[in-house]
Amino acid sequence: MATETLTTASSPRPTRNPRRRPGRRQLVGLLFVAPALLLVVAFFVIPLGMTAWMSLHNWPLLGKSSFIGLGNYEALLADGRFWSAMRFTLYYTVVVTVVIFAVAFPLALFVERQRPLAGFYRTIYFLPVVVGFGSASLLWAWLMNVDAGLFGPALQQLGLTEKRINILSSFDATFWSVIAMVVWKTSGFTMIILMTGLQGIPTDLREAARIDGASRPQLFTRITLPLMRRTIALALILSVAGSMLAFDQFYIIAQGGPRNTTLTAVYWIFNSSFVSFRMGYGAALSMVLLVILLAISVVQLRILRTHEGI
């Protein structure tokens, strides 16, 4: 949907080399991009249109679908469980993004400059990023397990808890363990993005400020932060968009539990479409998620663009 509005068709300029027949050369260019276009149309444009279309239907897996207008959207407004999944997703997104930045920013400052072992530290902090969310979740699901895992038994052996606690039976323990897992797995990514922003700041600018007597905190808030606005915006959008779409970790580690308190928006769409097979309803939920995500991206870009100084 964004694609139709954002395209700005510029009229094709005449071919560079007039000696070649323009018609044929144009055709060759189109042929080169044809496979990519075919894939995007078949597996992106058509499904996107279908999502909108299906959301207006009662669409079971088998049997005929029937047009019900905005029926799915009305049902969705009254669906308390969807909105609590949405609220949980937002809560998770805010918390995880704050913690990721709190960890990644100091690390970016730490590894930014060319100093002994800086490259080594970068590599190590980044390692969990290349491990899949599936593998990482299965790893932490075990660490969080009450019988064979690490956290519960270790807390007990250290004498911090009297009995062995089952992390997965409490919302807070589950939630914060998942946060720890995601921060462990993704901080390295945010760190590298922020690091490229830091390295883009001209050194003479910082030198000049230092000579003028700027203190370290002043240097950071007056020079570093404003000049990193674009990078911070990018890292924020990537973190927020990624977290809003969280699924793997909550599905694998907690199965949405305890008592369905960690069901995310995507998890709820997955349940509607592929567990209860209400595909039209799932499509309506998808449309809502889609609109929210696009809105978040636009708002974030706006805020970070207008506030020059931060």
């Binding site: 144009q26 894939l39 992106f44 969990p128 899949g132 690490l150 590298i192 968009a241």
Partner: protein
């Protein structure tokens, strides 16, 4: 040596110790979960059922946990084969498609060129999680549901915005004169692309290939939905089924050996080709 020099040197030394103490401490935190999982996978199955304190095998190291993996589903080799097929298929098709598209967008003029380029790049704004339901129906209609090839096509499409952007930039960086010289010598478009251009844009190809491999090897949700036939499970789906007790009592030692099998190719690939990987990351950041 003057006293001031000595003081300065001592201060530098203390700074160094503090910095590397911090650096190493954080490094340990990042490495610990990986190490814990890999070490536990070598414990005897009975020992692996107990809390992993300490993580290394106390009772002698074995490969028993890896042997057990063969009892799940169609056996670990079949499922590793599925994952490898999907990952390599995604790599090969992504490279071919984005090489062609990158060349086309960089070197040719045709109607709606910018529109089509923006269309491909903008698809990254729409999360694929929101178009899963119709994708499922389209794959079923094309008889590609439960087919590794169908999954490959979806993964290639997910990678396309990144791959096409990457390859177009790679071609843009090659001076036109090189190609025109070859063309004057009478070489065909194909020959120029394969013999002259490909070596010049090869770093871009490697970057596209790494991202295609890691993302398809690790992808979870689409594989979970589209591969309902147990024989077609990729590794993350198989191991999640094991962890949910689908194959009997949950064997955490075996699961950690499965996690190790899934993690090692990613870690090795990253450590070997880190330069190309980070190039891909920063390409997005600088944009």
């Amino acid at each position: 040596m003057s006293a001031r020099q000595a003081a300065r040197r001592r201060k530098a030394l203390l700074n160094g110790i503090a910095r590397h103490g911090f650096g190493m401490g954080v490094a340990l935190l990042f490495l610990a979960p990986l190490a814990w999982s890999i070490l536990v996978s070598f414990k005897r199955p009975i020992e692996a059922r107990k809390p992993p304190i300490p993580p290394w095998p106390v009772d002698g190291a074995t490969l028993d946990n890896y042997a057990v993996l063969n009892d799940f589903g169609a056996g670990i080799w079949a499922h590793a084969g599925n994952s490898l097929t999907v990952a390599l298929g995604t790599v090969i098709i992504s490279v071919i498609v984005s090489l062609l598209a990158g060349y086309g967008f960089s070197r040719f003029k045709f109607p709606f060129k910018n529109t089509l380029f923006v269309l491909i790049i903008m698809s990254i704004m729409v999360p694929f999680q929101s178009i899963l339901t119709p994708l499922f129906l389209i794959l079923s209609a094309l008889k590609l549901q439960n087919s590794l090839f169908g999954l490959i096509l979806v993964y290639v499409t997910l990678q396309l915005p990144f791959s096409v952007f990457m390859m177009r930039n790679a071609f843009d960086a090659v001076p036109r004169e090189i190609e025109e010289a070859a063309r004057v010598d009478g070489a065909s478009v194909w020959l120029v692309l394969v013999k002259v251009m490909l070596p010049l844009v090869f770093p871009g190809v490697v970057t596209v290939a790494i991202f295609a491999f890691l993302n398809s090897w690790n992808e979870f949700l689409a594989a979970l939905i589209f591969m309902t036939d147990q024989d077609k499970y990729t590794l993350p789906i198989l191991m999640t089924a094991v962890a949910s007790g689908q194959f009997g009592t949950i064997n955490w030692g075996a699961i950690q050996s499965g996690v190790t099998v899934m993690m090692l190719p990613c870690l090795a690939l990253f450590l070997l080709l880190q330069r190309y990987y980070v190039r891909g990351l920063t390409a997005g950041a600088v944009k």
